[in-house]
Symmetry: C2
DNA sequence: ATAATTAGTGTCAAATTAACATTTATTTTT
DNA sequence: AAAAATAAATGTTAATTTGACACTAATTAT
Protein backbone atom coordinates (compact mmCIF):
# COMPACT_ATOMS: atom_id res chain seq x y z
CA UNK A 1 0.00 0.00 0.00
CA UNK A 2 1.99 2.86 -1.39
CA UNK A 3 -0.53 5.23 0.13
CA UNK A 4 0.28 4.56 3.73
CA UNK A 5 4.05 4.25 3.40
CA UNK A 6 6.48 6.18 5.61
CA UNK A 7 3.75 7.48 7.93
CA UNK A 8 4.84 6.92 11.45
CA UNK A 9 2.77 6.17 14.46
CA UNK A 10 1.42 8.91 16.67
CA UNK A 11 -0.29 8.21 19.96
CA UNK A 12 -3.81 9.52 20.15
CA UNK A 13 -5.36 10.62 23.41
CA UNK A 14 -8.39 12.44 24.70
CA UNK A 15 -8.58 14.97 27.51
CA UNK A 16 -11.77 16.04 29.22
CA UNK A 17 -12.47 19.54 30.39
CA UNK A 18 -15.25 18.97 32.88
CA UNK A 19 -17.25 22.07 33.70
CA UNK A 20 -19.57 22.35 36.63
CA UNK A 21 -21.47 25.14 38.33
CA UNK A 22 -21.73 25.38 42.08
CA UNK A 23 -24.31 28.16 42.16
CA UNK A 24 -21.67 30.83 42.39
CA UNK A 25 -18.92 30.30 39.89
CA UNK A 26 -18.03 28.09 36.99
CA UNK A 27 -15.79 25.24 38.10
CA UNK A 28 -13.49 22.77 36.42
CA UNK A 29 -12.74 19.27 37.68
CA UNK A 30 -9.06 18.40 37.89
CA UNK A 31 -7.15 15.36 39.07
CA UNK A 32 -3.83 14.94 40.76
CA UNK A 33 -1.82 12.57 38.62
CA UNK A 34 -0.69 9.44 40.41
CA UNK A 35 1.63 8.31 37.65
CA UNK A 36 4.68 9.49 35.77
CA UNK A 37 5.48 11.72 34.05
CA UNK A 38 4.50 14.71 36.14
CA UNK A 39 3.25 12.65 39.07
CA UNK A 40 1.43 14.64 41.75
CA UNK A 41 0.74 17.59 39.53
CA UNK A 42 -2.75 18.71 38.64
CA UNK A 43 -4.06 17.87 35.22
CA UNK A 44 -7.13 17.19 33.17
CA UNK A 45 -8.51 13.68 33.13
CA UNK A 46 -7.44 11.91 29.96
CA UNK A 47 -6.68 8.61 28.36
CA UNK A 48 -5.61 6.95 25.16
CA UNK A 49 -7.94 6.17 22.33
CA UNK A 50 -8.08 2.40 22.05
CA UNK A 51 -7.77 0.55 18.75
CA UNK A 52 -11.43 -0.38 18.69
CA UNK A 53 -13.00 2.80 19.99
CA UNK A 54 -13.85 6.17 18.54
CA UNK A 55 -12.49 9.31 20.21
CA UNK A 56 -16.02 10.11 21.43
CA UNK A 57 -16.26 6.74 23.11
CA UNK A 58 -12.83 7.19 24.65
CA UNK A 59 -13.89 10.53 26.08
CA UNK A 60 -17.08 9.11 27.53
CA UNK A 61 -15.17 6.22 29.02
CA UNK A 62 -12.67 8.56 30.64
CA UNK A 63 -15.45 10.76 31.97
CA UNK A 64 -17.33 7.83 33.42
CA UNK A 65 -14.21 6.47 35.05
CA UNK A 66 -13.71 9.73 36.89
CA UNK A 67 -17.25 10.80 37.67
CA UNK A 68 -19.37 7.70 37.30
CA UNK A 69 -21.65 9.69 35.02
CA UNK A 70 -23.01 8.66 31.64
CA UNK A 71 -25.09 10.45 29.04
CA UNK A 72 -23.45 13.69 29.88
CA UNK A 73 -23.41 16.63 27.50
CA UNK A 74 -20.06 16.43 25.76
CA UNK A 75 -18.64 18.23 22.83
CA UNK A 76 -15.48 17.90 20.87
CA UNK A 77 -13.34 20.96 21.00
CA UNK A 78 -9.83 21.57 19.84
CA UNK A 79 -7.02 19.15 19.12
CA UNK A 80 -3.59 19.77 20.59
CA UNK A 81 -0.87 18.22 18.55
CA UNK A 82 2.36 20.14 18.81
CA UNK A 83 5.18 17.63 18.33
CA UNK A 84 6.79 18.77 21.57
CA UNK A 85 3.72 19.10 23.73
CA UNK A 86 4.68 16.06 25.80
CA UNK A 87 8.33 15.55 26.59
CA UNK A 88 8.69 11.81 26.17
CA UNK A 89 6.51 10.84 23.26
CA UNK A 90 4.41 12.15 20.44
CA UNK A 91 0.88 12.34 21.74
CA UNK A 92 -1.88 14.19 19.96
CA UNK A 93 -4.81 14.93 22.21
CA UNK A 94 -8.39 15.58 21.26
CA UNK A 95 -10.17 17.71 23.84
CA UNK A 96 -13.76 17.33 24.89
CA UNK A 97 -15.66 19.55 27.20
CA UNK A 98 -18.36 18.11 29.39
CA UNK A 99 -21.11 20.01 31.17
CA UNK A 100 -22.25 18.28 34.29
CA UNK A 101 -24.86 18.92 36.89
CA UNK A 102 -22.76 18.92 40.03
CA UNK A 103 -25.66 17.54 42.04
CA UNK A 104 -25.28 14.31 40.12
CA UNK A 105 -21.57 14.20 40.73
CA UNK A 106 -21.11 12.31 43.98
CA UNK A 107 -17.42 11.52 43.83
CA UNK A 108 -17.94 7.90 44.74
CA UNK A 109 -16.10 6.19 41.96
CA UNK A 110 -13.35 8.71 41.89
CA UNK A 111 -11.92 7.64 45.21
CA UNK A 112 -9.48 6.07 42.82
CA UNK A 113 -8.31 9.52 41.76
CA UNK A 114 -7.72 12.62 43.73
CA UNK A 115 -10.19 14.85 41.98
CA UNK A 116 -11.17 18.37 42.97
CA UNK A 117 -13.28 21.20 41.67
CA UNK A 118 -11.51 24.48 41.05
CA UNK A 119 -13.00 27.80 40.08
CA UNK A 120 -12.26 28.62 36.47
CA UNK A 121 -10.92 31.96 37.61
CA UNK A 122 -8.33 30.38 39.82
CA UNK A 123 -7.01 26.90 39.27
CA UNK A 124 -3.50 25.53 39.79
CA UNK A 125 -0.88 25.35 37.08
CA UNK A 126 -1.42 22.25 35.02
CA UNK A 127 0.89 19.88 33.19
CA UNK A 128 1.82 20.19 29.54
CA UNK A 129 -0.60 22.39 27.60
CA UNK A 130 -3.63 21.65 29.74
CA UNK A 131 -4.05 25.30 30.67
CA UNK A 132 -4.40 26.16 27.01
CA UNK A 133 -6.88 23.34 26.66
CA UNK A 134 -9.05 24.83 29.35
CA UNK A 135 -8.78 28.30 27.86
CA UNK A 136 -9.76 26.96 24.48
CA UNK A 137 -12.67 24.99 25.90
CA UNK A 138 -13.88 28.04 27.76
CA UNK A 139 -13.80 30.06 24.60
CA UNK A 140 -15.71 27.35 22.82
CA UNK A 141 -18.26 27.18 25.61
CA UNK A 142 -18.85 30.91 25.42
CA UNK A 143 -19.27 30.75 21.69
CA UNK A 144 -21.64 27.83 21.77
CA UNK A 145 -23.63 29.26 24.66
CA UNK A 146 -24.03 32.49 22.74
CA UNK A 147 -25.99 30.59 20.12
CA UNK A 148 -27.50 27.62 21.91
CA UNK A 149 -28.99 27.21 25.38
CA UNK A 150 -26.46 24.58 26.44
CA UNK A 151 -25.74 26.12 29.81
CA UNK A 152 -28.87 24.50 31.16
CA UNK A 153 -26.87 21.27 31.07
CA UNK A 154 -24.97 22.61 34.05
CA UNK A 155 -28.10 23.08 36.13
CA UNK A 156 -30.23 20.50 37.90
CA UNK A 157 -33.71 19.56 36.66
CA UNK A 158 -35.25 22.29 38.76
CA UNK A 159 -33.54 25.62 38.87
CA UNK A 160 -34.38 29.22 39.68
CA UNK A 161 -33.97 32.33 37.59
CA UNK A 162 -31.37 33.82 39.93
CA UNK A 163 -29.37 30.62 39.44
CA UNK A 164 -29.41 30.89 35.65
CA UNK A 165 -28.44 34.52 35.90
CA UNK A 166 -25.48 33.67 38.12
CA UNK A 167 -24.47 30.96 35.67
CA UNK A 168 -24.45 33.27 32.67
CA UNK A 169 -22.61 35.86 34.68
CA UNK A 170 -20.05 33.23 35.61
CA UNK A 171 -19.53 31.97 32.09
CA UNK A 172 -19.06 35.40 30.56
CA UNK A 173 -17.58 36.97 33.64
CA UNK A 174 -19.79 40.03 33.56
CA UNK A 175 -22.69 41.37 35.57
CA UNK A 176 -25.93 42.42 34.13
CA UNK A 177 -29.33 43.73 35.03
CA UNK A 178 -31.27 40.83 36.50
CA UNK A 179 -34.61 42.46 35.70
CA UNK A 180 -33.91 42.68 32.01
CA UNK A 181 -32.34 39.24 32.01
CA UNK A 182 -35.34 37.72 33.64
CA UNK A 183 -37.73 39.35 31.24
CA UNK A 184 -35.78 38.15 28.20
CA UNK A 185 -35.53 34.65 29.52
CA UNK A 186 -39.22 34.39 30.30
CA UNK A 187 -40.22 35.75 26.92
CA UNK A 188 -38.24 32.97 25.25
CA UNK A 189 -40.62 30.27 26.49
CA UNK A 190 -37.56 28.19 27.19
CA UNK A 191 -38.47 27.58 30.80
CA UNK A 192 -41.65 26.51 32.55
CA UNK A 193 -42.58 27.77 36.00
CA UNK A 194 -43.22 25.23 38.73
CA UNK A 195 -45.28 25.71 41.89
CA UNK A 196 -42.45 24.89 44.22
CA UNK A 197 -40.02 27.41 45.59
CA UNK A 198 -36.35 27.25 46.48
CA UNK A 199 -36.07 28.54 50.03
CA UNK A 200 -32.41 27.71 50.47
CA UNK A 201 -30.92 30.83 49.06
CA UNK A 202 -33.18 33.64 50.03
CA UNK A 203 -35.83 34.70 52.48
CA UNK A 204 -38.53 35.24 49.95
CA UNK A 205 -37.63 32.13 48.00
CA UNK A 206 -37.40 31.86 44.23
CA UNK A 207 -39.73 29.80 42.10
CA UNK A 208 -38.31 26.73 40.49
CA UNK A 209 -38.49 26.34 36.73
CA UNK A 210 -37.87 23.41 34.45
CA UNK A 211 -36.68 23.32 30.87
CA UNK A 212 -39.16 23.36 28.06
CA UNK A 213 -37.38 20.57 26.26
CA UNK A 214 -39.44 20.96 23.09
CA UNK A 215 -38.15 24.47 22.65
CA UNK A 216 -34.73 23.64 23.99
CA UNK A 217 -33.85 21.27 21.19
CA UNK A 218 -31.38 22.99 18.94
CA UNK A 219 -32.90 26.37 19.59
CA UNK A 220 -30.62 29.11 18.47
CA UNK A 221 -30.60 31.94 20.93
CA UNK A 222 -28.94 34.69 19.13
CA UNK A 223 -28.92 35.83 15.59
CA UNK A 224 -26.46 37.14 13.20
CA UNK A 225 -26.46 40.87 13.06
CA UNK A 226 -26.59 40.65 9.31
CA UNK A 227 -29.32 38.10 9.18
CA UNK A 228 -32.93 38.86 9.82
CA UNK A 229 -33.81 37.85 13.33
CA UNK A 230 -36.35 35.33 12.13
CA UNK A 231 -33.48 33.12 11.00
CA UNK A 232 -33.43 30.27 11.50
CA UNK A 233 -37.10 29.48 11.66
CA UNK A 234 -37.89 26.97 14.32
CA UNK B 1 7.05 3.36 30.79
CA UNK B 2 4.04 1.70 32.30
CA UNK B 3 1.93 4.68 31.32
CA UNK B 4 2.13 4.15 27.60
CA UNK B 5 1.83 0.37 27.59
CA UNK B 6 -0.62 -1.49 25.39
CA UNK B 7 -1.68 1.62 23.47
CA UNK B 8 -1.58 0.81 19.82
CA UNK B 9 -0.73 3.03 16.92
CA UNK B 10 -3.38 4.98 15.07
CA UNK B 11 -2.66 6.84 11.87
CA UNK B 12 -3.38 10.53 12.08
CA UNK B 13 -4.47 12.51 9.06
CA UNK B 14 -5.85 15.92 8.19
CA UNK B 15 -8.52 16.75 5.65
CA UNK B 16 -9.18 20.22 4.29
CA UNK B 17 -12.60 21.56 3.50
CA UNK B 18 -11.76 24.44 1.20
CA UNK B 19 -14.54 26.97 0.84
CA UNK B 20 -14.65 29.56 -1.87
CA UNK B 21 -17.22 32.03 -3.13
CA UNK B 22 -17.69 32.66 -6.83
CA UNK B 23 -20.01 35.63 -6.46
CA UNK B 24 -23.09 33.48 -6.65
CA UNK B 25 -22.83 30.46 -4.43
CA UNK B 26 -20.57 28.97 -1.81
CA UNK B 27 -18.23 26.44 -3.36
CA UNK B 28 -16.06 23.63 -2.10
CA UNK B 29 -12.84 22.46 -3.74
CA UNK B 30 -12.60 18.71 -4.31
CA UNK B 31 -10.00 16.48 -5.90
CA UNK B 32 -10.26 13.31 -7.91
CA UNK B 33 -8.11 10.77 -6.14
CA UNK B 34 -5.35 9.32 -8.28
CA UNK B 35 -4.43 6.63 -5.82
CA UNK B 36 -5.93 3.64 -4.10
CA UNK B 37 -8.12 3.03 -2.26
CA UNK B 38 -11.07 4.67 -3.99
CA UNK B 39 -9.05 5.83 -7.00
CA UNK B 40 -10.93 8.18 -9.33
CA UNK B 41 -13.53 9.12 -6.79
CA UNK B 42 -13.99 12.64 -5.53
CA UNK B 43 -12.70 13.48 -2.10
CA UNK B 44 -11.37 16.19 0.13
CA UNK B 45 -7.69 17.00 -0.05
CA UNK B 46 -5.90 15.37 2.84
CA UNK B 47 -2.63 13.96 4.07
CA UNK B 48 -0.95 12.36 7.01
CA UNK B 49 0.42 14.27 9.94
CA UNK B 50 4.17 13.78 9.87
CA UNK B 51 6.19 12.89 12.96
CA UNK B 52 7.71 16.35 13.21
CA UNK B 53 4.75 18.51 12.35
CA UNK B 54 1.68 19.73 14.16
CA UNK B 55 -1.75 19.03 12.68
CA UNK B 56 -2.06 22.74 11.83
CA UNK B 57 1.17 22.59 9.86
CA UNK B 58 0.05 19.44 8.10
CA UNK B 59 -3.17 21.14 7.08
CA UNK B 60 -1.34 24.21 5.76
CA UNK B 61 1.05 22.00 3.87
CA UNK B 62 -1.77 20.07 2.27
CA UNK B 63 -3.58 23.27 1.38
CA UNK B 64 -0.51 24.79 -0.16
CA UNK B 65 0.20 21.67 -2.16
CA UNK B 66 -3.24 21.86 -3.72
CA UNK B 67 -3.77 25.57 -4.12
CA UNK B 68 -0.34 27.15 -3.85
CA UNK B 69 -1.75 29.48 -1.23
CA UNK B 70 -0.24 30.33 2.12
CA UNK B 71 -1.46 32.42 5.05
CA UNK B 72 -4.99 31.39 4.38
CA UNK B 73 -7.70 31.60 7.02
CA UNK B 74 -7.93 28.11 8.45
CA UNK B 75 -9.72 26.72 11.41
CA UNK B 76 -9.76 23.37 13.07
CA UNK B 77 -13.13 21.76 13.05
CA UNK B 78 -14.23 18.30 13.96
CA UNK B 79 -12.25 15.10 14.24
CA UNK B 80 -13.53 11.97 12.57
CA UNK B 81 -12.30 8.83 14.23
CA UNK B 82 -14.74 6.00 13.90
CA UNK B 83 -12.68 2.79 13.92
CA UNK B 84 -14.33 1.70 10.71
CA UNK B 85 -14.31 4.96 8.80
CA UNK B 86 -11.64 3.74 6.40
CA UNK B 87 -11.79 0.13 5.29
CA UNK B 88 -8.12 -0.84 5.34
CA UNK B 89 -6.61 0.88 8.31
CA UNK B 90 -7.34 2.89 11.38
CA UNK B 91 -7.06 6.51 10.40
CA UNK B 92 -8.29 9.35 12.56
CA UNK B 93 -8.69 12.55 10.61
CA UNK B 94 -8.68 16.09 11.90
CA UNK B 95 -10.68 18.41 9.66
CA UNK B 96 -9.79 21.98 8.88
CA UNK B 97 -11.83 24.40 6.94
CA UNK B 98 -10.14 27.04 4.85
CA UNK B 99 -11.69 30.20 3.48
CA UNK B 100 -10.04 31.34 0.33
CA UNK B 101 -10.45 34.25 -1.98
CA UNK B 102 -11.01 32.49 -5.27
CA UNK B 103 -9.34 35.31 -7.16
CA UNK B 104 -6.07 34.24 -5.57
CA UNK B 105 -6.61 30.64 -6.49
CA UNK B 106 -5.08 30.18 -9.92
CA UNK B 107 -4.90 26.43 -10.13
CA UNK B 108 -1.30 26.45 -11.29
CA UNK B 109 0.27 24.04 -8.86
CA UNK B 110 -2.70 21.77 -8.82
CA UNK B 111 -2.11 20.52 -12.34
CA UNK B 112 -0.79 17.66 -10.28
CA UNK B 113 -4.29 16.95 -9.02
CA UNK B 114 -7.59 17.03 -10.73
CA UNK B 115 -9.23 19.66 -8.60
CA UNK B 116 -12.59 21.25 -9.18
CA UNK B 117 -14.94 23.66 -7.46
CA UNK B 118 -18.42 22.37 -6.70
CA UNK B 119 -21.37 24.27 -5.32
CA UNK B 120 -22.02 23.32 -1.72
CA UNK B 121 -25.60 22.63 -2.64
CA UNK B 122 -24.65 20.05 -5.21
CA UNK B 123 -21.40 18.16 -5.08
CA UNK B 124 -20.67 14.53 -5.99
CA UNK B 125 -20.71 11.69 -3.52
CA UNK B 126 -17.41 11.55 -1.71
CA UNK B 127 -15.32 8.73 -0.30
CA UNK B 128 -15.51 7.52 3.28
CA UNK B 129 -17.14 10.07 5.59
CA UNK B 130 -16.07 13.13 3.64
CA UNK B 131 -19.67 14.20 3.07
CA UNK B 132 -20.17 14.33 6.82
CA UNK B 133 -16.97 16.31 7.11
CA UNK B 134 -18.28 18.93 4.74
CA UNK B 135 -21.63 19.07 6.50
CA UNK B 136 -19.91 19.51 9.82
CA UNK B 137 -17.59 22.19 8.48
CA UNK B 138 -20.52 24.05 6.99
CA UNK B 139 -22.30 23.98 10.32
CA UNK B 140 -19.18 25.27 11.99
CA UNK B 141 -18.80 27.99 9.41
CA UNK B 142 -22.36 29.15 9.97
CA UNK B 143 -21.86 29.18 13.70
CA UNK B 144 -18.59 31.07 13.56
CA UNK B 145 -19.89 33.51 10.96
CA UNK B 146 -22.88 34.23 13.18
CA UNK B 147 -20.49 35.63 15.78
CA UNK B 148 -17.45 36.81 13.88
CA UNK B 149 -17.07 38.53 10.51
CA UNK B 150 -14.96 35.74 9.02
CA UNK B 151 -16.86 35.58 5.75
CA UNK B 152 -14.85 38.54 4.53
CA UNK B 153 -11.99 36.06 4.16
CA UNK B 154 -13.84 34.69 1.17
CA UNK B 155 -13.93 38.03 -0.60
CA UNK B 156 -11.16 39.88 -2.41
CA UNK B 157 -9.59 43.04 -0.99
CA UNK B 158 -12.18 45.16 -2.71
CA UNK B 159 -15.76 44.01 -2.67
CA UNK B 160 -19.21 45.47 -3.09
CA UNK B 161 -22.19 45.35 -0.79
CA UNK B 162 -24.24 43.23 -3.19
CA UNK B 163 -21.37 40.72 -3.12
CA UNK B 164 -21.37 40.48 0.66
CA UNK B 165 -25.11 40.12 0.65
CA UNK B 166 -24.92 37.27 -1.87
CA UNK B 167 -22.25 35.63 0.26
CA UNK B 168 -24.31 35.70 3.44
CA UNK B 169 -27.30 34.48 1.53
CA UNK B 170 -25.21 31.63 0.17
CA UNK B 171 -23.78 30.60 3.52
CA UNK B 172 -27.14 30.54 5.30
CA UNK B 173 -29.15 29.62 2.27
CA UNK B 174 -31.78 32.27 2.77
CA UNK B 175 -32.76 35.49 1.09
CA UNK B 176 -33.17 38.73 2.86
CA UNK B 177 -33.98 42.36 2.37
CA UNK B 178 -30.89 43.94 0.82
CA UNK B 179 -31.89 47.40 2.01
CA UNK B 180 -31.98 46.41 5.65
CA UNK B 181 -28.85 44.32 5.24
CA UNK B 182 -26.99 47.22 3.76
CA UNK B 183 -28.09 49.55 6.51
CA UNK B 184 -26.95 47.15 9.22
CA UNK B 185 -23.64 46.51 7.58
CA UNK B 186 -22.86 50.17 7.10
CA UNK B 187 -23.79 51.03 10.66
CA UNK B 188 -21.24 48.51 11.90
CA UNK B 189 -18.30 50.54 10.61
CA UNK B 190 -16.79 47.29 9.49
CA UNK B 191 -16.29 48.41 5.92
CA UNK B 192 -14.85 51.54 4.33
CA UNK B 193 -16.19 52.96 1.08
CA UNK B 194 -13.78 53.44 -1.82
CA UNK B 195 -14.13 55.83 -4.73
CA UNK B 196 -13.96 53.12 -7.34
CA UNK B 197 -16.94 51.25 -8.68
CA UNK B 198 -17.43 47.70 -9.86
CA UNK B 199 -19.00 47.94 -13.30
CA UNK B 200 -18.78 44.25 -14.10
CA UNK B 201 -21.97 43.12 -12.55
CA UNK B 202 -24.49 45.86 -13.10
CA UNK B 203 -25.27 48.82 -15.25
CA UNK B 204 -25.23 51.34 -12.48
CA UNK B 205 -22.14 49.87 -10.91
CA UNK B 206 -21.63 49.24 -7.19
CA UNK B 207 -19.09 51.02 -5.06
CA UNK B 208 -16.18 49.01 -3.80
CA UNK B 209 -15.50 48.79 -0.10
CA UNK B 210 -12.55 47.52 1.88
CA UNK B 211 -12.41 46.02 5.31
CA UNK B 212 -11.83 48.21 8.31
CA UNK B 213 -9.22 45.86 9.75
CA UNK B 214 -9.06 47.65 13.08
CA UNK B 215 -12.70 46.88 13.71
CA UNK B 216 -12.51 43.50 12.03
CA UNK B 217 -10.16 42.01 14.56
CA UNK B 218 -12.10 39.58 16.65
CA UNK B 219 -15.23 41.66 16.47
CA UNK B 220 -18.23 39.77 17.64
CA UNK B 221 -21.19 40.42 15.42
CA UNK B 222 -24.03 39.03 17.33
CA UNK B 223 -24.92 38.86 20.93
CA UNK B 224 -26.38 36.41 23.26
CA UNK B 225 -30.05 36.92 23.73
CA UNK B 226 -29.48 36.72 27.44
CA UNK B 227 -26.53 39.00 27.52
CA UNK B 228 -26.73 42.73 27.21
CA UNK B 229 -25.92 43.77 23.68
CA UNK B 230 -22.94 45.78 24.79
CA UNK B 231 -21.12 42.54 25.55
CA UNK B 232 -18.36 42.04 24.79
CA UNK B 233 -16.89 45.49 24.80
CA UNK B 234 -14.38 45.97 22.06
C1' DA C 1 -35.13 59.78 -25.78
C1' DT C 2 -36.83 55.78 -23.43
C1' DA C 3 -36.85 51.53 -21.19
C1' DA C 4 -34.51 48.39 -18.37
C1' DT C 5 -31.67 47.18 -14.59
C1' DT C 6 -29.70 47.20 -10.30
C1' DA C 7 -27.57 50.31 -6.57
C1' DG C 8 -28.46 53.00 -2.94
C1' DT C 9 -31.31 55.99 0.17
C1' DG C 10 -35.65 57.04 2.71
C1' DT C 11 -39.86 56.27 5.74
C1' DC C 12 -42.26 54.71 9.62
C1' DA C 13 -44.79 51.69 12.68
C1' DA C 14 -43.73 47.94 15.68
C1' DA C 15 -40.71 45.53 18.57
C1' DT C 16 -36.84 45.37 21.54
C1' DT C 17 -33.53 47.17 24.67
C1' DA C 18 -31.44 49.64 28.57
C1' DA C 19 -31.97 51.99 32.47
C1' DC C 20 -34.31 52.68 36.38
C1' DA C 21 -38.46 52.17 40.25
C1' DT C 22 -41.59 49.80 42.77
C1' DT C 23 -44.01 46.02 44.92
C1' DT C 24 -44.10 41.41 47.07
C1' DA C 25 -43.02 37.46 50.11
C1' DT C 26 -40.54 36.02 53.67
C1' DT C 27 -37.33 36.01 57.69
C1' DT C 28 -34.89 38.36 61.30
C1' DT C 29 -34.64 41.76 64.62
C1' DT C 30 -36.48 44.50 68.04
C1' DA D 1 -46.33 41.87 67.25
C1' DA D 2 -44.41 45.51 64.56
C1' DA D 3 -40.50 47.00 61.95
C1' DA D 4 -36.48 46.23 59.36
C1' DA D 5 -33.96 43.55 56.17
C1' DT D 6 -33.42 40.78 52.19
C1' DA D 7 -33.90 39.18 47.77
C1' DA D 8 -37.52 38.03 44.16
C1' DA D 9 -40.57 39.59 40.91
C1' DT D 10 -43.03 42.87 38.28
C1' DG D 11 -43.54 47.61 36.23
C1' DT D 12 -42.28 52.05 33.49
C1' DT D 13 -40.45 54.60 29.82
C1' DA D 14 -37.40 56.69 26.46
C1' DA D 15 -34.19 55.43 23.07
C1' DT D 16 -32.82 52.29 19.72
C1' DT D 17 -33.31 48.71 16.41
C1' DT D 18 -35.96 46.08 13.30
C1' DG D 19 -38.91 44.81 9.41
C1' DA D 20 -41.48 45.96 5.73
C1' DC D 21 -42.04 48.74 2.15
C1' DA D 22 -41.28 52.90 -1.50
C1' DC D 23 -38.64 55.66 -3.87
C1' DT D 24 -34.52 57.87 -6.30
C1' DA D 25 -30.02 57.42 -8.87
C1' DA D 26 -26.72 55.95 -12.30
C1' DT D 27 -25.82 53.61 -16.14
C1' DT D 28 -26.46 50.80 -20.49
C1' DA D 29 -29.15 48.98 -24.28
C1' DT D 30 -32.56 49.99 -27.57
Amino acid sequence: MEYYREDSAILLAVDCIIFGFNGESLQVLLIKRDFEPERNKWSLMGGFVQPDESPELAASRVLKKLTGLENVYMEQCSVFGDPKREPNSRVVSICYFALIDTQKYTHILSEEYEAKWFPLQNYPTLIFDHDQMIASAQHRLRMKAALYPILFELLPEKFTIPQIAALYEGVYNIEFDKRNFSRKLLSSDLIIKLDEKDKENSKKGAFYFKLNTAIYKEKIMSFLRYLPSWFPEN
